[in-house]
């Protein structure tokens, strides 16, 4: 099996270009000191990639920024060394440099380039892309303005931006997310740095765009022989690009080693748990497929929604079909996944099923009651009844709970509105619901701010369950959660399904989550369902070109079987 190990993971012969030893960073907050980074040590080598992996709050981003001394004023480096070496072996101690001193500024952008997560806000909206890139060139490479301009165009071409001459004079809001990230990469690489730090460079992007960007970064790294430090929470991505891995948790590196060792022989229990959660989501939850004879609970036919604007003369100026001619069936006990990238119309579809957004065309047939009913023409009382049978779980566990209500009030709200339960009976029902979602009944008197993201999502689920629903529509219900929490919440939902005879419509952009959770999957692209099939078929034997490109872009959490970088591309 050793021969499958990627060659880069073998023993390096070079001296590291950057060494970090026992780095500690403290945050002096108003009420306490947070030891965000504790005794972190690692090395970076030319031409190789080290991935710093961890869940939120692990201190991975702070560590990366500390290398350039770009940390917040309330953060203090409490100890440790950062040493940068050049080809001659001369050493430069970065930890001793004053923030914003001339020395560290020469390193920033000149020898170490940085790419961030938010492609939307990482570039100034009021200056052109070209001037922002040229700035780095003028600063570090002593070019004249026309030279810098030419080099900027050249760089934009290298990061595969079409029409670079014209695009250099554009502003960021005229760029798509992927293009902004390409521009960021061009800027980071402008001065040919020795080291590239990529801080969650693709987290905000769609999976196919992510694959393209990672492709680009990998190619540029290979061509230029840079060392790369990549920060990510996604073990799949790590397996695709890393040579070595350091796993961080709560400020410490709990384990580090070559990528193959981390994935195939992890030592630390946390690494194992993390891997387990990731791998679990790469398989299906092994449950019996529901029967698909009988009548479906919900039948959607020809559903569509157009957004448009008319000008002052009443003429249509533009029209977007957010959802177009969608047909779906949901059978009792089934988990139906709806997968798509941003802008595919999946969220609009989910909201139309509950008539939060009114559909423009088509029908939704509800067949859960004795007599089938058409949802699109229901009157208010009928709609209220329908909405108590079909419930929604939201994506953002912070925004979906009223911060001014206790957990008890939040969960009781649908029960109080529906009437019937009061006093002790209401309390008992709420306690029962809390228990059902794995929370203690002492949670009742607390406010949402006292809970973590995963716990809040459980509260949201309890609220959805309060009225004994038949269907739960989960709109990206797990995408705001860390991977280990995500797996727990999914297992909770599956457990609830067994106990309460529920059906799910699971809207997600994350294919592995859908694969784990769903029986059937509908793939959406530009408002249409392009392919529907069993989860396994879609994930292993996709038929449509778009689905194929989507599936092949998903990182595979196994460094011995890298998939993302040899994927099929889809050109619409």
């Amino acid at each position: 099996m050793t021969q499958h190990t990627p060659p880069a993971a073998g023993q390096p012969v070079t001296t590291p270009i950057l060494s970090v030893r026992d780095l500690s960073i403290d945050f002096h907050l108003r009420s306490h000191i947070l030891h965000a980074v504790r005794d972190v040590s690692f090395d970076l080598h030319s031409g190789r990639t080290l991935c710093l992996v961890g869940e939120s709050g692990s201190g991975k981003s702070v560590t990366a920024r500390a290398l350039l001394r770009l940390i917040d004023p309330q953060a203090r480096v409490a100890g440790g060394t950062i040493t940068l070496r050049d080809e001659t072996g001369a050493e430069l101690r970065l930890d001793g440099m004053a923030p914003n001193s001339r020395e560290i500024r020469a390193v920033r952008g000149g020898r170490i380039g940085l790419i961030f997560q938010e492609p939307m806000s990482s570039l100034s909206p009021v200056r052109t892309i070209g001037t922002q890139i040229a700035e780095a060139l003028l600063l570090h490479r002593r070019m004249t303005k026309p030279e810098a301009k030419a080099e900027t165009v050249n760089l934009l071409r290298q990061v595969e931006i079409a029409n670079p001459e014209r695009m250099a004079d554009r502003y960021t809001f005229e760029f798509s997310g992927g293009m902004r990230q390409r521009a960021m990469i061009a800027m980071a690489l402008a001065c040919d740095p020795d080291i590239l730090i990529a801080d969650e460079p693709t987290t905000a992007l769609d999976v196919t765009t992510q694959a393209e960007i990672m492709d680009l970064i990998a190619r540029l790294q290979r061509e230029r022989g840079m060392a790369m430090l990549m920060i990510t929470h996604d073990l799949g991505l790590v397996a695709e690009v890393a040579d070595a891995v350091a796993v961080m948790r709560w400020g410490r590196i709990v384990e580090q080693g070559p990528v193959d060792q981390i994935f195939h022989a992890p030592h630390h229990p946390y690494t194992r748990r993390l891997l387990e959660a990731t791998l679990k989501l790469d398989s299906s939850a092994k449950r019996e497929a529901p029967r698909m004879d009988g009548t479906p609970l919900l039948s959607v036919r020809g559903l569509g929604k157009g957004f448009g604007a008319v000008n002052w003369r009443g003429r249509q100026t533009f029209a977007i079909k957010a959802v177009d001619q969608v047909n779906l069936d949901l059978w009792p006990g089934e988990n139906l996944g709806i997968v798509g990238e941003s802008g595919s119309g999946k969220t609009t579809l989910g909201r139309m099923l509950l008539r939060i957004i009114e559909p423009s065309t088509g029908s939704i047939r509800w067949q859960g009651d004795a007599a089938p009913a058409e949802v699109t023409i229901m009157n208010r009382p009928d709609l209220a009844r329908y909405r108590s049978a079909v419930r929604l779980v939201f994506q953002d566990p912070y925004a979906s709970l009223n911060p001014r209500m206790t957990v008890k009030q939040v969960i009781a709200d649908p029960l109080v509105v529906a009437g019937g339960l009061k006093g002790a009976a209401l309390d008992a029902r709420i306690a029962e619901l809390l228990e059902l979602v794995g929370l203690d009944r002492s949670a009742m008197e607390r406010y949402p701010h006292a809970f973590s993201g995963g716990q809040r999502q459980r509260i949201g689920i309890a609220r959805a369950l309060a009225l004994n629903p038949r269907i739960i529509i989960a709109d990206e219900a797990t995408s705001a959660l860390d991977v280990s929490i995500r797996a727990q919440v999914l297992d909770l939902l599956l457990d609830l399904q067994r106990r309460l005879d529920l059906s799910f419509i699971f809207i997600a952009h994350d294919i592995s989550v859908v694969r784990y959770f769903c029986d059937r999957v509908a793939v959406m692209h530009r408002g249409r369902v392009v392919e529907t099939g069993s989860a396994d078929d879609i994930c292993t034997r996709p038929r449509e070109p778009y689905t194929q490109s989507l599936i092949s872009a998903v990182p595979n959490p196994d460094p011995r079987n890298r998939r993302m970088l040899h994927r099929t591309r889809f050109r619409a």
Partner: protein
């Protein structure tokens, strides 16, 4: 950009219409019309007017027409003939009285605006960049104080202080010997000596408000990722701050003209009354007290129009400054 300008100017029309309605409303507000006031004032001086003459006057001024017709007569006179009506107190057409006064109002307002900007920009930037430093606290304290002291109290206080401790009378724009004189360096210098008090008085609250706004905006912008990007490029701290966050925090600064200008004109009005400056303020007050309503209404109308034009300019400047506005 041209399309945007055109759109913006067209949008001004309904607002302009609203302002003219308000001004007309104020003209009509006191009981009776101006002919009754005229008769009353003539009666005071023992004169009388024969009923035929009264009827003739009522007809020329359209006083018996419905309100809406009167409004149209009034506004079309202004728009097409520059005829703002007749001031009974002064016995002259309003248009002869207002322009010089409006001119000085505008001049002092603009001077105050320049003062506001020149003072608040550096202090605001300093405060945001050195948050919680001693300088910031001092600026914040004076900012609060500046917001809390009403214009006329500040004017009174400065007047008292300069009278008491410098023995200088600070009313008006010129010392007596220069009032009617031709322009000379001496006269300009004399003007400057008189102008600083009104400008400080009028500009203080706007300065304080702008410092606070700039500080808050800049503080927000300073923590944005694009600032870190700029730092990661290796730019010096000064360049990072001036080229990136300040560039964006300037937007509210420019759009502030929209609400600072009405405040300044308000300020000029009341300050001018206290300091007896030859601007619209004292004349307006006098017109209002003697219910010389065409004069008063014209002042109010013109002040409203002036702020509208200021807002237009600030919107256009904003569009020049921020491509996001220009392109949508």
């Amino acid at each position: 950009m041209w399309l945007y300008t055109l759109k913006r100017i067209l949008l001004m029309i309904p607002t302009m219409f609203g302002i003219s309605l308000i001004s007309f409303f104020i003209i009509q507000l006191p009981p009776g019309d101006y002919l009754t006031s005229l008769l009353a004032s003539m009666a005071d001086s023992g004169q009388t007017l024969d009923p035929v003459e009264i009827a003739r006057l009522r007809a020329t001024y359209g006083l018996d027409d419905p309100m809406i017709v009167q409004y149209f007569k009034w506004i079309s006179g202004i728009v097409f003939r520059g005829d703002f009506g007749y001031s009974f107190e002064w016995g002259r057409p309003v248009s002869e009285l207002i322009w010089e006064r409006m001119g000085s109002t505008l001049a002092i307002s603009i001077a105050a605006l320049v003062f506001v900007w020149a003072v608040s920009l550096p202090i605001g930037i300093y405060s945001a960049v050195h948050r919680h430093s001693v300088g910031d606290h001092v600026a914040t304290f004076f900012g609060f104080l500046g917001l809390a002291i009403p214009n006329f109290i500040l004017a009174l206080t400065l007047m008292y202080v300069s009278y008491r401790y410098f023995g200088q009378s600070v009313g008006g724009l010129f010392s007596p010997e220069y009032v009617g004189a031709d322009w000379s360096w001496g006269r300009v210098w004399d003007l400057m000596k008189h102008l600083w008090i009104p400008i400080i008085v009028i500009g203080t609250s706007g300065t304080a408000a702008l410092i606070r706004i700039l500080r808050a905006n800049l503080t927000d912008e300073l923590s944005k990722p694009y600032v870190t990007t700029a730092r990661a490029k290796g730019l010096s701290e000064f360049n990072v701050i001036m080229r990136y966050p300040v560039r964006i925090a300037l937007n509210p600064f420019v759009s502030a003209i929209g609400w600072v200008l009405p405040n300044l004109i308000s300020g000029v009005t009341i300050t001018a009354i206290v300091l007896n400056l030859p601007t619209a303020g004292p004349l307006l007050l006098r017109a209002l007290v003697s219910q010389d309503m065409y004069l008063a209404g014209s002042f109010i109308l013109l002040m409203g129009v002036l702020t509208l034009i200021g807002m237009l300019i600030s919107d256009l400047l904003l569009a020049v400054l921020d491509p996001r506005i220009r392109f949508t």
